[in-house]
């Protein structure tokens, strides 16, 4: 069997009608949206609504992706992936082609969006991504093939979504699909076992990718090369510590990385202000809980004081009584 890239594998043009064999739904193809190793995605119309239809001559990968999409729908409040609308077969020219239909997620991919709207959106979108990833991780999955091409920004208001779930893997298993640049195994920084830190590594690489849109190859490899690249980029300065932490797998959850990113952003806005403010602002924000603690201490001190007084007075009273008795 030869695995070509799937382009031009199916003779599907604008206007082709796809008839489902099992559910008898009719889809009218409008154009090709993209293709990958596992199939071609088309924009189609169904009951006057736009949908995305993915077709593959490999029924296995269709079923496998449908499984993932189904379990995505069970993750509450996580609209990270597209919702699944239909799964069916299409009989054409004596062949049976499996396909599935999902919600059409429209918008530019992550890098084009940031290029268009400015760098200030980077942190916002990464924060959105991290909270969605957290929900996915809590449901026992790892996304696997995280990369800017798979991330679409819809809106307004801008919201990050994932379009390719082919790499999504149950935690503890081997990652199903990955892209070298975003894979920690490639950089020699960890295994390909699916755990939350695998995704967080990819998020860090996406941040690096924002500063180096054309990516770069591994040379000496490892952490040193990545560190060097992060240091060289002015754009990455505010995220430096977060990126390095994530690259080394030091964050245990997406939420932890998210929190760290928020704190970092606040720290970096402080740096841009005057020296006086710089001293007061981060202190106030980072230690928002500090005044509370001091108050508690005071309260504790008050109790001790009262006790001491009572003790002292009762001591004196004791001596007084003692003297009286004698």
């Amino acid at each position: 069997m030869m695995m070509n890239s799937m382009k031009s594998q199916f003779n599907v043009n604008r206007g082709t009608v796809i008839d489902g064999k099992w559910h008898q739904n009719r889809y009218l193809i409008e154009k090709e949206l993209g293709y990958g190793a596992n199939g071609v995605v088309y924009l189609a119309k169904f009951r006057n609504q736009h949908v995305a239809l993915k077709m593959s001559d490999n029924g296995i990968s269709v079923t496998s992706e449908v499984n993932v999409l189904k379990s995505f729908s069970k993750v509450q409040g996580s609209p990270l992936g597209p919702s699944l609308l239909d799964v069916d077969d299409w009989k054409t020219q004596g062949k049976v082609i499996s396909f599935y239909v999902m919600e059409y997620i429209q918008g530019p991919d992550l890098l084009s969006f940031i290029k268009q709207k400015g760098d200030s959106w980077t942190a916002v979108l990464i924060l959105q991504l991290l909270s969605d990833l957290d929900k996915l991780h809590k449901a026992g999955w790892v996304f696997g093939d995280l990369k800017p091409e798979n991330l679409i920004v819809t809106g307004p208001p801008p919201k990050i979504r994932c379009i390719d779930v082919g790499g999504t893997t149950i935690q503890g298993r081997a990652i199903k699909e990955f892209t070298e640049f975003y894979d920690r195994g490639y950089w020699g920084l960890g295994s390909r076992k699916a755990d939350p830190t695998y995704d967080l590594f990819a998020v860090a690489m996406i941040l690096i990718n924002c500063a180096y849109p054309s990516r770069f190859n591994k040379d000496a490899g490892g952490l040193e090369q990545l560190k060097e690249r992060v240091k060289q980029s002015k754009q990455l300065q505010p995220y430096e510590s977060v990126i390095l932490h994530a690259l080394q797998g030091k964050y245990h959850s997406a939420l932890e990385m998210r929190q760290s990113l928020i704190e970092n952003m606040q720290g970096s806005t402080g740096q841009q202000q005057t020296r006086m403010q710089k001293h007061t602002k981060p202190a106030q924000q980072a230690h928002a809980t500090a005044p509370l603690k001091q108050q508690k201490k005071k309260k504790k001190g008050g109790v001790a004081e009262t006790l001491m007084l009572i003790l002292l007075i009762s001591c004196l009273y004791f001596f007084y009584i003692y003297g009286q008795v004698i």
Binding site: M1, W22, I60, T63, N67, V87, G172, R173, I175, G185
Partner: protein, 245 residues
């Protein structure tokens, strides 16, 4: 649960065979013995000609495996993808056979309604994660491969990284052809760790003919020897599939 073993030959080459038996026939012979043949063609500055392409596709087709022709740069990604894809394909085949026994009329997964397929796929996924895997890597070391060997080494490293992330056992062995004296030469005996091949690659010399057919035939006997030894201790692998699914 005792799991059976999947057996694969991974052939990495950059051109046509020019000596000995027809490699496509030898790949078919492998398939008859339950061994899948995957073939990867590597190009760098040269291009694999039509005849070479046909041979590569032919070997994978008759060997029941997967083939792909790539530039050296993409080799790592390809090697692990081809191996995994072939695993899924084999497991799917096994599951299909079971299904047609249960359902009759040569029914396969594709004949089930899409909703039911998901459950079958979960079984295949689960098996792919836990099944034992033996990969015999067969590397072409004819003169034109000289430049590509460092990339091959890296790709094999990457392969062990991918496969060792599974919970199932892996065993690898490495053979090169042509060998110093014979058509094929063993460089690394069955081992779960491919990391040990670093030192081997620096010692490799390239040159000579491309006896792809004889190399596959030789490689088969190596599986066999091992199997006959193991079969004294364990049950036949096919039996497992009938019982476990």
């Amino acid at each position: 649960m005792r799991t059976g073993t999947l057996k694969q030959i991974l052939l990495i080459t950059d051109g046509c065979s020019n000596q000995g038996e027809d490699p496509i026939a030898m790949a078919a012979l492998a398939k008859e013995q339950g061994i899948t043949v995957n073939v990867i063609g590597v190009m760098e500055n040269d291009v694999i000609d039509d005849q070479g392409m046909q041979e590569i596709e032919g070997m994978a087709m008759s060997g029941g495996g997967v083939s792909q022709v790539v530039y050296a740069k993409q080799l790592s990604q390809t090697v692990q993808m081809v191996t995994r894809k072939a695993m899924t394909q084999t497991l799917q085949g096994v599951v299909n056979r079971e299904l047609s026994q249960i359902l009759g009329n040569r029914q396969t997964v594709e004949d089930l309604p899409p909703d039911k397929r998901g459950e079958v796929m979960e079984v295949v996924d689960e098996l792919g994660e836990t099944v034992e895997l033996e990969v015999l890597i067969l590397v072409d070391t004819s003169a034109s491969m000289k430049q590509k060997l460092p990339t091959v080494k890296e790709a094999l490293f990457d392969l062990s990284l991918s496969l060792n992330a599974r919970s199932g056992q892996n065993r690898f062995s490495l053979f090169v052809f042509p060998g110093k004296k014979n058509d094929v030469e063993k460089m690394l005996d069955w081992t779960p760790k491919l990391e040990s091949l670093t030192s081997i690659f620096s010692k490799l010399t390239t040159g000579g003919t491309t006896p792809t057919g004889p190399a596959i035939r030789e490689a088969l006997t190596y599986f066999k020897k091992k199997k006959s030894l193991r079969s004294l201790l364990s049950r036949d692998d096919d039996e497992f599939y009938e019982e476990s699914i």
